[in-house]
Amino acid sequence: MLASIKSLALVALASTVAQAAVVTYDWNITYVNTNADGLFERRVIGVNGQFPPPAINVTLNDTLVINVINNLDQPTSLHSHGLFQTGNAQFDGPSMVTQCPIPPGANFTYTIPIEQHGTYWIHGHFGGQYVDGLRAPLIIHNLNETYKYDEEYTIALADWYHQEHSVMLEQYLSIFNPSGAEPVPESALINQMLDQKFNFVPGKTYRLRIINMSALAMFHFHIDGHEIEIIEVDGIDVERQKVSSFPITAAQRYSVLVTAKADTSMNYIIHADMDPAMFDVVPDELVLNITGTIVYNEASPLAPEELSQWEPFNDAELVPVVPLATQAPDQVFALTAAFSVLNDYSNKATFNDITYVMPKVPSLYTALSTGNLSSNPEVYGKYAHPMVLKHNDWVEIVINNDDPGNHPFHLHGHVFQIVGRGEGKYDPSSGPYPGYLNTTNPSRRDTVLVPSEENVAIRFQANNPGVWLFHCHIEWHLQAGLATTIIEAPEIMPSVLKVDPTHYEHCKALGIPFSGNAAGKEGLDLAGANLGPDPLPGTFTGKGIVALVFTIIAALLGLGTVIWYAREDDAQIASQIAQAKIAQEEETH
């Protein structure tokens, strides 16, 4: 009996291992012309001559291989958003963080072991290429899904612009935009297309994987006539949470279960409403509320549209199905996000008054080539804002949002626990963090919204040696410098990470140094490192003092002249009066 169970187990194991496949995608990245929103034809970035790029589907334990051929006229790179890349940091993707970008015309193969499951996406991470269309869902199926459903659909939401990102970026970062007004999208798309329809069969249960691939916009998602239950957030399965609508910020993902209705008499509208809170202006012609359709029967009429009501939602209340207790942090960081005009006179974003500027050497390569100095934050350059973590430490980051806008912050290489929320700014020197949500199984995700003038405390364990970017996922803000680089366990990186020499060939082709500190030099000699703008002094400079002194001198001289001008008349008058009096007295005598 035992023997047969054992052999059954072996067979099962064998089949599991046998199922782990190498899934290969060939991505020839090119420009494509398209009129995705039906309002404007423009050039976008597509894959294999197609737009939108096709979704990637893999299963837990697979190895995902993406053969990239860069046929653009600019470098590129790809980031699999939400994937841990354990021991695989060199394939995480952000340009000048974990790799040199892929030169135009060159090949690059991403080899990624799939160690997790859920709803993810893959997007360009050189400049703002993903806003120009280089983005696609990345669906990782579980071997045995936690929840039972009949079918699934992917609903990828995104805001859409008519101009290319690089053009808008120039305007966004110019001195003529000191208020940092982000470009407002011209429209929005589902699955980067129009008029999406999703067929529902009565009685079946559907899993909808909702992804927000936007540059800026947050959406509120709801379906007319149907209740939805959240079952997954950023790849983490959670206990069912029934909602009528929920917000989803840029880069976040949710899976919901929807039960199809029993009859096919009507079709229903799926709503994805853009939240205009972050839009500087809302032009009259901008359609904020986009829709898709749940089709029971092509011939059926649409159910009357329901009034849009956006429900508030606290993702910290979601309960992960696989519990993970939190632990007291070994290190606590407070990062205060703010926007201001810096001394290059453009509006930039800062964490603790430092704006992110890319170093001359990708930070990962610096960590791998500077030996003992790799634990010294100095080697990464001040403006990469390095945060060095010790292997297996529990790390807490309190993110203070000192800005009127709402920002979604994303950590590469990890999911983090949401352990606290609060109002205002938290300063570690003032004592322990006051906003802890005392739960033994805190909610986990990889992209969290920190509302305006509020703070959120996140926690994770530094168990993934590598260099991980931590940044606001509003693309404009990343370009404006709202990022830090987490240098995790640099002391053991060389033993864990093996970078293929072909990666360095690409650096050579682009003239980018691939070893040494942030200036490409040995040791702590950082002369020539990329420097960012700093906050304006806000005090008198040399020319200010000179100007002030001259104005004061001018005023004093002027007043002196007035007194001089009037002075003689005093005496004159006095003598005239005296003379007149004398004359009068003489007359009357």
Binding site: S179, V562, I563, W564, A574, A580, A583
Partner: protein
């Protein structure tokens, strides 16, 4: 500072100055009447009443016009206002600069003007005494002069107030106006009682200094308003007063000391009197300095010219014996010189 919100210093100064001028004229007339008509009390009292009547009616009409102006402005003007606020601000400021400067400099000659009027009045009454008080216009001269003077001073005050504090809070106006009027009356009263003319002259010099400081500040503020209008349009600012400036011409930009910050009354006061701002650029600095250079040049020019004339007159007179000149002739001399001065002198037409 709560107090500053209820008392506008620039308005106080303007009202004080205008009321002082008006009350000087009234007090000159009244004291002249007392001195000349020492015997005929009935006529004196009637003429004094004329003076008062003229002054008060002039005051009432100028207040009525002021109130009408404010009503019309609040009803219709503010719409025109909002879309081009900075341009209005700048234009009013520069207009106020011109008027305040002219009046401030003119103030320095007030005592001479007073002497001139005494001379004119004396002459007019001498003629009257000979011909009798039958002539109608002469009869009401003592009504018309104060009436027109007070009316004009009142309207001037309104225009000045409009220019200096177009955006002043309504609540800061009444206290300042009342205080200014009261102090102005006080000055006139002191003059009527025969205050020391020398002290009075010093008062005028000091108040002119204050007025010119305010005017210089207005030059800076006016230029700043025009520049803000230009820059705000360039950056397509969605709301105004956010303190964004053109970095290419900026001279200083302080995080502190912002007069737009409602919590710091001190900087607001400095802005009202000195034109201080935590942001300054080449335009405002150069404009400010040029204003003072202009004042210096103008005053120096006028004074040298007067000295030149005085020397020429003295040379001419040296041919005659100075002791033989009568009081009247001396007066004529002085007034003739004053006639030749710039038109900033107050010229009551009726008694020419």
């Amino acid at each position: 500072m709560a107090a500053a919100d209820y008392f506008s210093l620039p308005i106080f100064f303007i009202v004080f100055r205008e009321t002082t001028e008006a009350s000087i004229i009234v007090s000159v007339l009244l004291s002249f009447l007392s001195q000349v008509l020492t015997t005929d009390h009935a006529i004196k009292r009637r003429l004094q009443r004329q003076v008062w009547a003229g002054a008060l009616i002039g005051l009432l009409i100028s207040l009525a016009i002021g109130a009408a102006f404010i009503v019309v402005w609040n009803k219709y003007g503010s719409n025109l206002w909002a879309s081009n606020e900075s341009i209005w601000e700048g234009s009013f400021s520069l207009l106020a600069v011109v008027m305040i400067t002219i009046m401030g400099v003119a103030m320095l000659r007030t005592t001479q003007i007073q002497e001139k009027w005494k001379g004119k009045l004396a002459k007019a009454f001498d003629d009257e005494a000979e011909r009798g008080l039958g002539n109608n216009s002469r009869r009401y001269a003592l009504f018309i002069l104060p009436f027109i003077t007070v009316l004009r001073e009142g309207l001037e005050a309104i225009v000045f107030i409009g220019g200096v504090t177009f955006s002043a809070e309504i609540k800061s106006i009444p206290a300042a106006v009342v205080a200014g009027v009261f102090c102005g009356f006080l000055v006139g009263y002191i003059m009527y009682r025969g205050g020391n003319m020398l002290q009075l002259h010093r008062f005028f010099v000091v108040s002119t200094c204050f007025l010119l400081i305010i005017a210089a500040g207005l030059v800076a503020k006016g230029i700043a308003a025009f520049e803000a209008n230009y820059w705000d349009k360039l950056i397509d600012a969605q709301s105004d007063d956010l303190g964004y400036y053109d970095p290419n011409v900026n001279v200083w930009a302080l995080n502190c000391c912002n007069p737009n910050d409602n919590t710091s009354g001190g900087w607001q006061l400095m802005n009202a009197i000195l034109g201080w701002s935590n942001v300054a650029d080449i335009g405002t600095i150069v404009g400010y300095i040029l204003y003072w250079l202009f004042i210096i040049a103008w005053l120096v020019f006028m004074k040298l010219r007067r000295r030149h004339r005085a020397n020429a007159d003295a040379a001419a007179k040296s041919l005659e014996t100075p002791e033989e000149l009568s009081y009247d002739e001396k007066e004529k001399e002085v007034t003739e010189h004053h006639h030749q001065d710039q038109s900033e002198d107050i010229e009551p037409a009726q008694l020419q």
